[in-house]
């Protein structure tokens, strides 16, 4: 019986490496065929032409025959045209909503991870619940409340105040809707990061004379930085791709985001498919930093776990 580590190692693998590759094969093939190829398809359509008769986009698969004119059109509208205003609005909305996520989310995550002693599972369940309540249902709930004859206006009238048209192109409604929709995605990774901080580190800080306030600012906050960044990435990525929140909570051109423009190019006007694809790629390139940051964090966590 081989007893040395080396032999045990190779026997643990047991089956030949080819077998493990065979296990991974269906999944890898699936992801190549239905993730990588479709993404390449977006490039092919963005770099493609318009069908002369049916006026729908024709993808060009050969990079040597690419025609980047859709990027030119989109670029022109981004710098100076109507798209520029939409892009700027998208960035402003996302920035404002993300800031609110930090301001509301940090105290909540901090409280549940550091201050709750009794019924922690219950508190955690309350933080997890919104994840599993469908986003559209949560938005519909607000449409109910904020519609002309909704509970909010009914209450205002009962108090003798004037009812408002909450759902008619208000920036604040859309930004608060984004905060409401995505805040849970910020709280959870932050909660995990705060929960991991060793109590003894804080005790050491206190023993060495730090006030509670100083211990928070100089120990807890820096140690939770990773969680804040991960949470921010998790809320910003879907916000940049959102089109349904402004549509449901406003529906007005005044609150149009980049996602609305892409949705319109792709789903409503077939002839604009090329521009829709180009705008999608520009969006992806702009948020690539966020995606890569998150991928790196995940890859690191996986290495540590393995």
């Amino acid at each position: 019986m081989p007893t040395n580590v080396q032999a045990g190692e190779s026997r643990a693998i047991g089956l030949s490496p080819w077998t493990w590759k065979a296990f991974a094969l269906p999944g890898v093939v699936w992801l190549v065929a239905l993730f990588v190829v479709p993404l390449y398809g977006v490039v092919a359509v963005a770099m493609g032409r318009l069908h002369p008769v049916f006026l729908r986009p024709l993808p060009v698969w050969n990079p040597l025959r690419w025609d980047p004119s859709a990027f030119g059109d989109v670029g022109q509208e981004l710098f100076g045209g109507q798209l520029g205003a939409i892009a700027l609005r998208t960035i402003t909305y996302v920035a404002a909503a993300s800031l609110l996520c930090v301001l509301i989310g940090y105290p909540v995550a901090y409280f549940v991870s550091r201050k709750v002693e009794k019924h922690k599972t219950l508190w955690l369940a309350a933080l997890l619940a919104p994840f599993w309540i469908n986003y559209l249902m949560r938005m519909m709930a607000w449409v109910n409340l904020l519609s002309t004859d909704g509970l909010v206006n009914v209450t205002l009238e009962a108090l003798g105040l004037a009812p408002q048209a909450w759902l008619e192109g208000r920036h604040t409604t859309v930004v608060l809707g984004l905060v409401y929709g995505y805040l849970p995605f910020f709280i959870l990774p932050l909660y995990a990061a705060l929960d991991r901080i060793d109590h003894q580190v804080l005790e050491a800080a206190r023993d060495l004379g730090a006030s509670a306030r100083a211990a928070f600012w100089r120990v807890t906050l820096p140690l939770s930085r990773q969680g804040i960044l991960a949470g921010l990435v998790l809320v910003m990525l879907p916000m940049f791709g959102d089109y349904y929140t402004p549509n449901l909570l406003s529906g007005s051109p005044r609150t149009r985001m980049i996602g609305n423009q892409i949705d319109q190019f792709i789903n409503q006007t077939a002839s604009q498919g090329g521009r829709g694809a180009a705008l999608t790629l520009i969006l992806m390139a702009s948020i690539a930093v966020l995606m890569l940051y998150y991928l790196r964090t995940v890859a690191r966590a996986t290495r540590e776990a393995g």
Partner: protein, 280 residues
């Protein structure tokens, strides 16, 4: 340590995040047509009214389509994801690293980008894929695979290789060790994956919408989206409530299974990660 202000703040947050939904649920049971004035309890909007979930075609079809998609996605994505997780955990080499990266990218890709990509590829290159259920299942499986891999991989790391090695020391062939030791040990993760995939498929909106073709392939979230601003009767709330119950049931099952096993092994990070839909 007491923190009365923080407690109040957190309570206010929890109320803000959950109360609107509870009110929407409440009004699905309203006996009147209003969604702001309570007129007594009834199941009118579930069963009896001509516009109820049971009798309005568009609502009933949405319910059926959501369940059909979730079931198909669950049955296709789980085996592929489990095999991929085992393969990636055991296969070492450059290809493994690239495949691992490839598996993670769908998790960080905005759904809008995936929706556009699927829409264009099914309209152009893969034109044998018809829009509607077929295309929707392909789309849902693609993003569900990564979730399965993450759930199963967490469990693979937790159980380690000792059991397999012991089985082979006792004379099991690698194949037997896999089938009679590893797979049974993975059972809770596989079961949890089924439930989570079911839930995320029901929950999906963007890909379902981009790949829908007519009323037959409208799912519940897509129906909520198109109906919410049209002054709908409370039957739309009833439809949403049914979806809520279905999702929460699936997730609770997954959570209980994962918790039971992870507690035995002393870590519930995996369960929190899986239920929070992200990698810690």
């Amino acid at each position: 340590m007491r923190a009365p202000f923080l407690r109040l703040f957190t309570l206010a947050y929890v109320a803000w995040s959950i109360l609107p939904v509870l009110i929407a649920v409440q009004f699905s049971f309203n006996s009147g047509r209003s969604r702001s004035t309570w007129q007594g309890f009834s199941l009118r909007w579930y069963l009896h009214d001509a516009a109820s979930v049971a009798r309005d075609d568009s609502l009933r079809l949405a319910l059926v389509q959501s369940l059909r998609l979730a079931t198909l996605t669950m049955l296709v994505a789980t085996p592929i994801g489990v095999a991929l997780a085992i393969g990636l955990a055991r296969w070492k080499g450059r290809g493994a690293k690239a495949s691992n990266f490839l598996m993670l990218v769908p998790l960080v890709t905005p759904e809008l980008v995936m929706g556009v990509a699927f829409f264009l590829i099914f309209a152009n290159l893969y034109d044998f894929v018809t829009f509607g259920t077929f295309a929707q299942v392909l789309g849902h499986v693609t993003f569900a695979i990564s979730f399965v891999v993450i759930i199963v991989r967490g469990r693979l790391f937790a159980i380690g290789r000792d059991y397999e090695e012991a089985a082979m020391d006792l004379g099991a062939s690698p194949r037997q060790a896999l089938r009679r030791v590893l797979l049974p040990l993975l059972a809770p993760a596989i079961f949890a994956s089924l439930a989570i995939v079911f839930a995320i498929s029901i929950d999906d909106f963007v890909i379902s919408q981009f790949l829908a073709a007519g009323v037959d392939s409208v799912t519940i979230p897509v129906r909520l989206y198109s109906g919410a601003r049209m002054a709908p009767p409370p039957s739309l709330n009833a439809l949403a409530t049914l979806m809520l119950v279905g999702t929460l049931a699936a997730v609770t099952i997954a959570g209980l299974v994962l918790r039971r096993y992870s507690r035995r092994e002393g870590s519930d990070q995996g369960a929190v990660a899986a239920l929070g839909r992200f990698e810690l």
